[in-house]
């Protein structure tokens, strides 16, 4: 949970998005992750601009690295970097590329853009935290439903479930854009591997908060957790 020194709130996000796109209108498909990201940084994640190098911070990994404007808007609103960076989105010497780079942007844990890498990286992080006795921080990975097409996700899902990686949470933002869909539903791909699951409305901030905090509030966490956040279909 962070309190932005800038005093920026959810209502300011459209303005911050416009600074990047130059476009007044932001359709939902371009911001499918916006509400999930806001709830994470505003109510769930124990990380702030002051703690980006703290070993006990929660780690948020944006695996769905394309269309990162919502992510940048939320990070800027929370003070991880100056809002003045936003209009330079995609410029030659900008820190803000069309896919995020952890080396350039404070608060970004992984560089992403090629789908299917964030969850396997998150598994490694969760193992590393556990190996060092850092039991409180969580690793939260955001993936898209189409991103789940990539097989590398499923290596991570199977292994994390098999070893009971309880400090790992995945959020799947589901805008029904996977070409061949997910027969049996997305949650079942996780639950069959021993994950606990929750499926919620991806625009309902309270429901998101409850689902994302559930692993923290339950004692003796021994299973990884997935929250499937359902939003409007990308293609109508």
């Amino acid at each position: 949970m962070t309190t932005s020194e800038l005093g920026l709130d959810y209502a300011d996000l459209p303005r911050l998005l416009t600074m990047m796109t130059g476009d007044e209108k932001h359709d939902a498909s371009a911001t499918s992750t916006l509400d999930v990201l806001w709830v994470l940084y505003d109510r769930v994640l124990r990380v702030s601009p002051a703690t980006i190098d703290d070993p006990t911070r929660d780690r948020f990994l944006l695996s769905k690295g394309h269309g990162p404007m919502a992510y940048y808007a939320v990070l800027a609103a929370k003070g991880f970097f100056p809002t003045e960076w936003l209009p330079r989105f995609g410029a030659f010497d900008s820190a803000l590329g069309y896919h995020p780079d952890r080396v350039l942007i404070p608060g970004v844990e992984i560089s992403s853009g090629s789908l299917g890498h964030g969850l396997p990286l998150g598994v490694g992080m969760a193992l590393g935290l556990r190996a060092q006795g850092l039991t409180s921080p969580r690793v939260v990975v955001l993936v898209g439903d189409a991103e789940l097409d990539e097989g590398t996700n499923h290596e991570a899902i199977a292994y994390a479930g098999a070893v009971g990686l309880g400090n790992l949470t995945t959020v799947v933002v589901d805008n029904q854009s996977a070409t061949h869909g997910w027969p049996g539903g997305i949650a079942s791909r996780f639950s069959v591997n021993g994950w606990t699951t929750a499926t919620v409305d991806g625009r309902d901030h309270d429901a998101l908060e409850d689902a994302l905090l559930a692993p923290v509030t339950s004692a003796d966490r021994r299973q990884p957790h997935v929250v499937v956040a359902v939003v409007e279909p990308k293609f109508g």
Binding site: H117, P120, G122, G128, A131, A156, A158
Partner: protein
């Protein structure tokens, strides 16, 4: 008494490193797990077997590194390097995270296994990434120092183990410098890893310098330039003998001798799909990497004249 082979030495030293340094982790994908059973009992959180999931193995190494650990990931060369190359590129290099990758299998250690278990292109692939160290030991007794210094270091390293071996270790080469084994006038022959003994046999009666490299990245450019000076010829003749794809390090020879007229004969594994089994020695002969084949190539290159030792 047979000395331990490279893989056994690797497992023993890696286990010692696990005991000595809490940052060290070993990540496996069902290969060599028996050699880490004791270490896994002592350090259950730091010996990680992900199952037959090599891309995950490399990504896990990246994630471990991002939490401040020093991971060693290990499998058969084609699966560690080729199958998981995007993970090496993006989950290590692009994250600015580093790991030590250790392979077995090399170019054709297991000839009966065929192409799927052979990786003559592994070094060339890692060579496309900036800042990686690449070590190619020629003897099991070189492995300990190479592994320890790679783990102590902060950058990424690839250590390519093999069942092929020279008769003796050359400890001086584990510093990364070219180790001059013989001095001659006519040419400079650089032998990498297990190629040293075949090269020494091939050139026994030739007036050439032979230098041994157990580290090919960074390549000892200064050492090569020094050797080139010593030959005191208008045009320096260089022969490069590598146990992986021929020509993999040609660009480094060109870089070292950019201002010096030179000729280069790059020898190594050919770019052909052989579809043959048998023994590694059979394949050496097919690629001209046995002593007789090496000698033929080198003598032809040197024009067959003025090559005998006086």
């Amino acid at each position: 008494m047979t000395a331990p082979d490279m893989r056994t030495t690797f497992a023993a030293v890696a286990s010692e490193l696990l005991d000595a340094d809490r940052r060290v982790a070993v990540v496996l994908a069902d290969i060599s797990t028996d050699r880490f059973e004791d270490a896994a009992r002592r350090h259950p959180d730091r010996v990680i077997n992900v199952g037959i999931r090599e891309p995950l193995m490399v990504s896990v190494a990246g994630g471990l590194a991002l939490t401040g650990m020093r991971p060693i990931a290990h499998s058969y060369a084609p699966f560690l390097i080729e199958r998981s190359f995007e993970q090496i590129k993006l989950d290590l290099s692009h994250q600015d995270a580093s790991a030590v990758l250790v392979s077995v299998g090399a170019s054709y250690d297991w000839t009966e296994g065929g192409r799927t278990h052979q990786a003559p292109g592994d070094v060339a692939l890692i060579d496309t990434l900036p800042g990686w160290a690449i070590h190619v030991p020629g003897h099991a007794d070189e492995v300990a120092e190479l592994l320890r210094s790679a783990v102590r270091d902060s950058r990424s390293a690839y250590i390519r183990l093999s069942t092929r071996s020279n008769a003796e270790a050359r400890p001086a080469a584990t510093s990364g410098a070219l180790d001059v084994v013989r001095r001659g006038e006519r040419a400079v022959v650089v032998a990498v890893g297990p190629m040293l003994d075949p090269v020494l046999r091939a050139t026994a009666d030739l007036d050439v310098s032979v230098a041994y490299a157990a580290t090919v990245r960074p390549f000892d450019l200064a050492g090569l330039r020094q050797l080139a000076e010593v030959t005191a010829r208008g045009v320096v003749d260089v022969v490069l003998v590598e146990p992986y794809l021929a020509g993999t390090s040609s660009r480094l020879v060109a870089e070292a001798l950019v201002d010096r007229p030179h000729r280069l004969l790059p020898l190594g594994v050919g770019r052909i799909e052989l579809r043959r089994y048998g023994t590694p020695e059979d394949h050496d002969a097919l690629y001209g990497l046995d002593p007789a084949g090496l000698r033929r190539s080198i003598v032809d290159f040197l024009d067959g004249s003025s090559v005998q030792v006086a």
